[in-house]
């Protein structure tokens, strides 16, 4: 049997890799890829806590489904914004999107 610690360590590592991607990538779409990695790490944790905690309360899985829905919404709006910005400014590099910087 797999101890809970394996899942938690894997999810922590996946979250850290995603965090690095969000902070270090130049391309706005690559930043969204990093966000997806972080959301998946959270989902692993939620489902693992459901399985290793009380099976009767299904809240962990329900929360994971809500995270799925939020991730889908985030990707739809995020990629829509990226494409809109690309049309107007012809760039997807996050550093060059400084219109609102003062």
């Amino acid at each position: 049997m797999i101890p809970l610690s394996w899942y938690l360590i894997l999810a922590a590592a996946l979250f850290s890799v995603g965090l690095f991607g969000v902070l270090a990538r130049k391309n706005a779409i690559a930043i969204l890829l990093g966000v997806e990695l972080m959301l998946n790490a959270v989902n692993i944790n939620l489902v693992a806590f459901w399985r290793y905690g009380s099976l009767a309360s299904i809240a962990g899985q329900v929360f994971a489904i809500i995270v799925f829905a939020v991730a889908a919404a985030e990707v739809a709006v995020g990629l829509g914004l990226v494409i809109s910005v690309y049309r107007r400014r012809n760039t997807v590099v996050a550093d060059e999107l400084d219109l609102m910087k003062w």
Binding site: L10, A13, A24, L33, A73
Partner: protein
């Protein structure tokens, strides 16, 4: 070492290796395909955790919809962002440090928690996770309100995405 543990270790290696490639590869289309590999690994973990419905949703929604959406967006914006050239910004060293510190902090925090080495209880006979989940999602004393709010959120995001990305005359 049991077969389950070997499956876990293999999928963990796939997840972490592909995740590192997602954040480090220069070619964005390859990054999106590595993301698909990561998502498949996570689906395997869901299957190991007896979350059957989430396994299917992970493959159908995450890989089938979200990853494909990423590939479309990458192809639509490809001209500007060449495959060659630096893909990481100047602060990537600090970003790597923050990532390592986050992992170390989480590891220390979890290591001191007494539930860290817990093992799972066997599934009771006749336990059907899909039935439990479906009942919980639509029963009024459980999660029907968050479920409906999530659908409204999806609708709002859909309309917002069409409005933001659409061409204006």
């Amino acid at each position: 070492m049991t077969a389950i543990q070997i499956i876990f270790i293999l999928s963990a290696l796939v997840i972490l290796g592909a995740a590192v490639m997602v954040v480090s590869t220069k070619n964005l289309v390859h990054a999106a395909l590595y993301l698909v590999a990561t998502l498949f690994g996570v689906a395997v973990l869901f299957a190991l955790l007896d979350a059957t419905f989430l396994t299917v949703v992970q493959v159908v929604v995450y890989i089938g919809a979200i990853a494909i959406l990423f590939i479309f967006a990458i192809m639509l914006t490809r001209r500007e962002m060449r495959d060659q050239g630096e893909q990481l910004n100047g602060g990537w060293g600090a970003a790597a440090l923050i990532g390592l510190l986050t992992f170390g902090g989480l590891f220390l925090l979890l290591g001191n928690w007494r539930g860290f080495g817990a093992t799972a209880a066997a599934l009771p006979s006749g336990f059907d996770g899909v039935v439990e989940l479906g009942t919980a999602l639509v029963s009024t004393d459980a999660f029907v309100l968050p479920f409906e709010v999530a659908s409204v959120l999806l609708l709002a995001a859909l309309i917002g995405a069409v409005y933001v990305a659409g061409t204006k005359k």
